[in-house]
């Protein structure tokens, strides 16, 4: 880019402006500049700044002091395990529920009502879901009351201020997200492929296993990654519905505590970097293992 801009102007032949335009740089291309500068300033710069800041501990010490403190203090490093214990089962449950339901809904003509209902918890947001579940799943809430009435349990289940409260809230907000992503991948596959398999005598399971699954694996891998990173950065429901000092002390709580209670932005940045790194590691593992399943072009057959 720069090499082109600084190329010496040649007397004969097309002007610099013409040569730039031939490569796609003209006044219209410049329209992208404000948004690019904005994203660089408010997204890339803070990340780089936080990365550097995390190596400059507030309380002095050498450049790795924050990271050493994180990995030597069980109250801090256990947050990673706590978060993974929530995020991985929730993501798997959401995906395993979403796939069969998406396959069924794909056949429906009027999907809009269901998709509209499912969009509700996403738009209402995690704070409202946490507040609602606090009442609904509480010992006097309708959920326990119904189970008691039907005689399924003899005393109310403890479902809030522990692991299961956060789990439930992550399913309520995460499932619709996973489902709608899955549905958009499933409906993107040409139905003619399935019909061809059915014509050749494949059963429903065989059609899923040998036709859809290989084609959908890349989509499922991306859905898993997106759902996982959302669940991994759980914050409001872990505070409100969970046990923020104990089993649901997730990594974002540790980061927020460092930033806003200890005013140690250096430590908070270090925790945010570790959080980003764990997310990245899981995403890389999932996307790499996608290659094991991939068996051919993912686009539909030619018409």
């Amino acid at each position: 880019m720069d090499a082109v801009a600084h190329a010496p102007a040649v007397e004969h032949g097309p002007s610099l402006r013409q040569r730039l335009a031939a490569r796609g740089f003209d006044a219209v291309t410049l329209l992208v500049v404000p948004a690019a500068i904005f994203t660089l300033l408010l997204f890339v710069y803070p990340f780089a700044f936080g990365f550097v800041l995390s190596f400059e501990p507030k309380g002095g010490g050498d450049w790795l002091a924050n990271y050493r403190r994180f990995f030597s203090d069980p109250f801090l490093y256990e947050t990673i395990a706590n978060t993974l214990r929530l995020a991985i089962p929730v993501t798997l449950v959401n995906l395993l529920l979403a796939v069969p339901i998406a396959f069924r809904v794909r056949l429906m003509r009027r999907q809009r009502l269901l998709t509209t209902i499912l969009v509700l918890p996403i738009t209402l947001g995690t704070v409202l879901v946490a507040e609602g579940l606090l009442n609904y799943l509480g010992p006097q809430g309708w959920f326990n009351r119904t189970l008691l009435t039907f005689g399924l349990i003899s005393q109310p289940l403890k479902l809030v201020h522990n692991y299961w409260g956060v789990f439930a809230s992550l399913v309520i907000t995460g499932f619709p997200f996973t489902f709608l992503l899955t549905l958009s991948y499933v409906t993107g596959i040409d139905p003619a492929l399935e019909q061809a398999a059915a014509t050749l005598g494949a059963s429903a399971w065989q059609r899923f296993r040998h036709v859809y699954l290989p084609l959908l694996m890349p989509g499922f891998a991306i859905t898993f990654c997106l759902s996982f990173v959302q669940a991994f950065s759980v914050f409001p429901s872990a505070v409100l519905l969970g046990e923020p000092a104990g089993v649901t002390r997730v990594i974002s709580i540790a980061a927020a505590t460092a930033a806003f209670e200890e005013y140690d932005y250096s430590m908070a940045s270090a925790i945010a970097m570790i959080m980003g790194f764990v997310q990245l590691a899981i995403v890389v593992v999932v996307l790499a293992s996608r290659g094991l399943f991939y068996r051919g072009p993912a686009s539909g057959a030619k018409g």
Binding site: R23, L124, V127, L180, S233, F235, G276
Partner: protein, 280 residues
């Protein structure tokens, strides 16, 4: 369409619908709990409250200074929608119409804030905003909320702009339209449905955007969802019904805009980016 008629597949379908039904039932029961509680006089250990009242709404309104919070919320949302529209649509136009070296890198740059959860980039962002003194102010909250919304508008608008025939613009040029006239008389009317859809989605997402606002907001720049978080966090100080009344006000604010948005967009667009729609 292939229909299986074996007993096994019927049972399977029934199991799937039962799961969907269970999920939707719990979702509605959860919302109904909040609404019921907000109208309850006293609700302890029974199916339904002892009596009904609306006084929690007036007490929530004054206790939480909801008028001020709502004004701030809509000012923030208005600024976010306007700025992300202006920055996003222009950038999307350039990306849709021109092919230049480094374009893929730029698209990746715009994709990242949508893929990385706001809590991860929010903490370094809040640190930078605190150091510049912008955090805690109105514009700090707006700036933080713009980080995911500008890329969102860009990615929703690119396929929409691509489907508009460039020949129309060329024709306008031939007839002597300058860039401004081209934009106002040709592009804007054609792009309006797409812009409207993108901005409504930004609006709905910004009302519910908790993490970024929480990390940078000060006492005078809180939005409704952050105020709701703090009141639930400090539960026990206020009556539960009062918090529920606030939650209902928040729900109504969100749902009104959701209903308006759903008239123009497909619900799946709230999650995934817009698929290329066939031109009507």
């Amino acid at each position: 369409m292939i229909r299986d008629t074996t007993i096994g597949s019927k049972l399977w379908a029934a199991a799937i619908w039962a799961t969907v039904g269970f999920f939707v039932l719990n979702l509605f029961a959860m919302i109904a709990t909040v609404v019921t509680s907000s109208f309850a006089t006293r609700w302890l250990g029974t199916w339904l409250p002892a009596g009904w009242t609306t006084r929690w709404y007036s007490s929530a309104w004054s206790e939480f200074q909801l008028w001020d919070v709502l004004v701030v919320t809509f000012q923030v949302i208005g600024a976010v929608v306007f700025i992300s529209g202006a920055l996003g649509v222009t950038a999307a136009y350039a990306l849709a119409r021109r092919d230049f070296p480094g374009k893929r890198l730029l698209v990746l740059l715009f994709l990242l804030p949508l893929l990385i959860p706001s809590m991860t980039f929010g903490i370094p962002l809040a640190t930078v905003l605190y150091q510049t003194g912008l955090a805690g102010t109105f514009w700090g909250v707006v700036a933080a909320n713009l980080v995911p919304t500008v890329p969102f508008v860009i990615l929703v608008m690119i396929p929409f702009i691509e489907q508009i025939d460039p020949k129309i613009e060329a024709a306008a040029r031939v007839f002597g339209a300058n860039t401004f006239k081209l934009f106002v008389y040709v592009l804007l009317p054609l792009l309006l449905p797409g812009i409207l859809a993108a901005l409504l989605l930004v609006l709905v997402r910004t009302i519910a955007m908790f993490e970024l606002t929480f990390l940078v907001a000060g006492p005078t720049s809180q939005t409704l969802v952050v105020a709701l978080y703090y009141s639930v966090f400090a539960a026990g100080v206020r009556a539960v019904q009062s918090i529920d009344a606030m939650a209902v006000i928040y729900m109504v604010t969100t749902l009104v805009w959701l209903i308006i948005a759903l008239r123009f967009v497909n619900p799946t667009q709230i999650v995934t980016r817009a698929k290329q729609q066939p031109a009507h």
